[in-house]
């Protein structure tokens, strides 16, 4: 089954390869040649490469620091902080981006307060390569955070204590012991951030277009939408470039992660490193960060949802619940979409949660080459722009496959999601396996447990926190997903992303904001429900538990 899933994950990519090499069924490398000889391609390639690298560094820095501080530092209200950092993923990225544009723009209320607002007419500071990089880095920091968090939780306390006994101060302990030990997870998180960044379309579109800063995804989208699908083979060729970047990232990751043996023996215990006089700084930084990246966009979202028309200031006179009423009672699509997206996201998360464990088990503990290759290839589906993956899915499923008609059902979206988000689920788990002492597995073998039982009773519970983090990543990402479902939805099978996007396209920003706010509420509710359901598990599974 795991192998099947891997195949699902790489099949679209293969289909695209075929399209790139054989446009309309005729062999010819013309498209590839055209793309490679176009200077625009290389400009975008260069932009993508270095923006992604820089953004990855920012994500690593922010996400890593967040994870370390809340996992090891003696901060108050740690669970709330973790919950907040996880929530970052559910704010749709365009909302965050618009919020930042407003915050740093000429009309910024905050900046005006300090007299720092740029003069009207001046170039918006975010409409720049730096702006794109910064926002992408911010946006993907939770990926690093969520991959790192489970790894920090299984760290045996005596390794840290040994370092402190050796006279190392907390910062040094972190640098020389903690970080190297959780390196696989940190690297996995950063690789996820890298691959997400090269595949990200929303932010480069919002900021890059006005900044005249083309990246590969925007280039692909422009080609597709501007010159029509006649350029499918060119798009496939461009997608291959993305694939090359992603694969490069993954190979570097594999190399880095494989270099060191970080299997820890011994039992995990909760660890605290006193922050000393840095404690107030860390508290302020953590909450300030949450306020800026979570609270501010959410408030902006709410403010928009509560007025009748976009751009009206929110006040007693303008406040209205009309948008919520419309979403809840008048728009059947919205209700359907919430349910469909919930179902899709939950199904994708659950399936991938279960599949990621055996896949990573084989790829890491058993060192199966084939499995590693499949995993690597599956990475591409995540790096491809959603549109491209959706096109590939259409190409494959437009006719019944194995007697099954998936086209125009939720099934095709689910499969596309499985393909696209496989990596999100698999990464943290693989990293967790890299860190585990395999004698625990041997002890189970010795007890006479066969493979399935071992995975279910030993491997799965041991990596459950990592798998849960992965499942959460999938769930939250899939819940708001737009670009894949934009082409794959069908009447009666809308997704949230599609409905929100349609509303925005129609200029109905306020209704869209109301729907997005409801989404946030629904997600928080679900996360609470998940907490409730898993509260009796032996090992706390969700990142913000324990």
């Amino acid at each position: 089954m795991a192998a099947l899933l891997c195949l699902i994950a790489i099949f679209p990519v293969l289909r695209l390869l075929v399209e790139g090499a054989m446009p309309q069924g005729k062999l010819g490398l013309g498209a590839l040649d055209r793309v490679l000889s176009d200077p625009a391609t290389w400009t975008a390639f260069g932009h993508t490469l270095w923006v992604s690298l820089a953004a990855m560094a920012i994500s690593g820095l922010i996400g890593g620091a967040m994870a370390l501080v809340v996992a090891l530092g003696d901060l108050p209200a740690r669970r709330t902080l973790v919950f907040g950092f996880t929530m970052l993923l559910i704010v749709p990225s365009q909302i965050t981006t618009i919020a930042w544009i407003e915050l740093l723009g000429p009309s910024s209320v905050l900046l005006k307060l300090f007299g720092l607002a740029p003069a009207p007419g001046a170039r918006h500071p975010l409409y720049s390569a730096t702006g794109i990089t910064l926002l992408l880095g911010l946006e993907h920091a939770p990926l690093v955070f969520l991959s790192l968090r489970p790894a920090l939780r299984v760290l045996p306390g005596d390794l840290i204590e040994a370092a402190r006994a050796a006279g190392a101060r907390p910062m040094r302990v972190v640098r020389t012991v903690v970080l190297p030990l959780v390196a696989p997870s940190l690297i996995a998180g950063m690789a996820l951030a890298f691959v997400s960044t090269i595949g990200n379309f929303g932010t480069p579109a919002l900021l890059g277009i006005p900044a005249r800063f083309p990246m590969l995804t925007t280039l692909i989208y422009q080609r597709l939408s501007g010159f029509g699908p006649r350029v499918l083979s060119e798009v496939a060729a461009l997608s291959l470039l993305l694939g090359v970047l992603a694969a490069g990232g993954v190979l570097v990751e594999a190399w880095l992660a494989g270099r060191r043996d970080v299997r820890v023996e011994g039992t995990a215990s909760s660890i605290h490193l006193p922050l000393g006089r840095w404690r107030p700084v860390a508290v302020a930084a953590a909450w300030g960060f949450l306020a800026l990246t979570l609270l501010m966009p959410l408030l902006a979202l709410l403010a928009t949802a509560l007025v009748a028309a976009y751009g009206q200031p929110l006040g007693p006179a303008t406040a209205t619940l009309e948008n919520f009423r419309f979403v809840l009672f008048d728009d059947p699509a919205a209700g359907r979409a919430i349910i469909d997206s919930l179902g899709l996201a939950a199904a994708a998360a659950a399936i991938l949660f279960l599949v990621a464990v055996p896949v990573a088990y084989f790829a890491v503990w058993r060192g199966r080459r084939l499995m590693r290759l499949l995993v690597l290839a599956a990475e591409l589906s995540y790096a491809l722009p959603g549109v491209v993956l959706a096109i590939a899915a259409i190409l494959i499923f437009i006719r019944p496959v194995l007697g099954l008609t998936l086209y125009n059902t939720l099934g095709i979206i689910l499969i596309a999601y499985l393909a696209r988000f496989f990596t999100l689920a698999q990464r943290p788990v693989a990293a967790a396996f890299r860190q585990l002492d395999f004698r625990l597995e041997e002890a189970a073998q010795m007890s006479g447990a066969g493979f399935v039982r071992r995975v279910m009773t030993v491997a799965l519970p041991l990596v459950a926190p990592a798998a849960a983090a992965g499942g959460l990543l999938v769930f939250l990402t899939a819940f708001n997903e737009l670009t894949v479902s934009a082409l794959l939805w069908s009447a009666g099978h809308e997704t949230l992303g599609v409905v929100v996007f349609s509303l925005e396209q129609a200029g109905e920003n306020t209704v869209a904001a109301a729907l997005a706010s409801l989404t946030v509420v629904a997600t928080v509710g679900l996360m609470a429900l998940a907490s409730f359901l898993t509260r009796h598990l032996a090992t706390p599974v969700l990142p913000w538990q324990a």
């Binding site: 390794l159 204590e161 402190r164 006279g167 907390p170 970080v262």
Partner: protein
């Protein structure tokens, strides 16, 4: 300077019924070698962790030299205590080579270059792993890992060394040579040492004094010979050395440290505290105090085990089947299990109180 003082130190884990460490007071002199013995789970490791600063005492205070390092309010972090520790679980860093593991405490103290290399090499040579400097912990055997942990602790030359069963996974010979090494290290640096072990002969051979713990409390702290010959409680008598404890009557008050005892109708003179009163008492009888003989205490042979050279024979006195005594017998003189024997008592100790 680096003596150690504990005053009614108590530690209770959140979900535990009884405290793991219960009102322990100890005075360890500067340069002293104190061994800690006690059954599994009695709180030895917890005590060490309190001293190192990894746990905070629930009550009581800890002083290192003249520094108060822990009480209700104060808590000096471990990195500022300059205390070396060898963990029961080794706690080697899997991502570092053996050399890097050992050199880590040196680096944190800014030792670099040639001195760094030579000190790492020296520490590894001591434990016989000079050639393993570039290997990774994962590729080492259990005993080799233990030795690396030891080298790491010695390399940092701490004032106070805490050792948690540092030789448990080593064979006798390596053990012996490392014990020599500890003595040498101590002589060189004057460090104070707290040493947890399950091997009594190790503790006897090395320690200036031994603390015997039981259920979180310290039962006795004394020099090895005292502990062996004059245990303060029945638990200590039972726990230290071989032999056993039997109930006896002391017909009259002890005289000049000697008391008459009567067991199962048989009488003998043994040692006692000068103020030992008459009455019922427990008596500690060691194997070397006992011998099979033609007359003496009537007993019954329970079983015999070969010990390399000699046989260890378990006998019980009638009416005290739950309290076996042990004695040594040469090969050839070992009685069959079940047969009645006579045991001569040449010495013994009345457990006070």
């Amino acid at each position: 300077m680096a003596g150690l003082i504990l005053r009614t130190v108590t530690k209770r884990f959140a979900d535990a019924a009884a405290p793991a460490v219960d009102a322990v007071s100890l005075d360890v002199a500067h340069g002293e070698f104190l061994a800690i013995l006690g059954p599994s789970g009695c709180g030895k490791t917890t005590l060490l962790r309190l001293v190192a600063g990894f746990e905070r005492p629930g009550a009581g205070e800890i002083r290192l030299g003249d520094r108060l390092v822990a009480d209700g309010r104060t808590h000096v972090p471990p990195e500022d205590r300059h205390v070396g520790i060898v963990f029961q679980s080794y706690a080697l860093w899997p991502h570092m080579t053996v050399g890097e593991n050992v050199g880590y405490p040196l680096r944190t103290r800014g030792v670099r270059g040639a001195e760094y290399r030579s000190r790492v090499a020296a520490a590894l040579d001591v434990v016989g792993l000079g050639s393993a400097v570039d290997r990774r912990p994962a590729s080492l055997s259990g005993g080799q890992r233990q030795r690396v942990a030891l080298a790491r602790c010695l390399a940092m030359a701490p004032d106070l060394v805490l050792l948690d069963e540092p030789l448990a996974n080593l064979d006798v010979h390596l053990k012996a040579s490392l014990l020599d090494e500890f003595q040498e290290f101590r002589a060189r640096t004057g460090a104070t040492m707290l040493y947890i072990t399950h091997d009594q002969s190790e503790a006897m051979a090395l320690a200036d004094r031994i603390a015997v713990m039981n259920q979180g409390r310290v039962e006795q702290v004394a020099a090895p010979e005292t502990l062996y010959h004059a245990p303060a409680t029945a638990f200590v008598a039972d726990f230290i050395g071989r032999g056993g404890v039997v109930a006896a009557t002391v017909p009259q008050r002890a005289d000049q440290g000697r008391a008459l005892i009567e067991i199962a109708g048989h009488r003998a003179f043994v040692r006692a505290v000068p103020e030992q009163a008459a009455g019922r008492a427990l008596v500690c009888l060691r194997p070397e105090d006992l011998a099979l003989a033609d007359d003496g205490l009537p007993a019954r042979c329970r079983r015999a085990r070969y010990q390399g050279g000699e046989w260890l024979v378990d006998v019980t006195v009638e009416g005290q089947e739950g309290r076996p005594l042990q004695l040594l017998a040469k090969p050839g003189t070992v009685p069959e299990p079940g047969t009645p024997v006579r045991v001569r008592i040449s010495d013994g100790w009345v457990i006070p109180g």
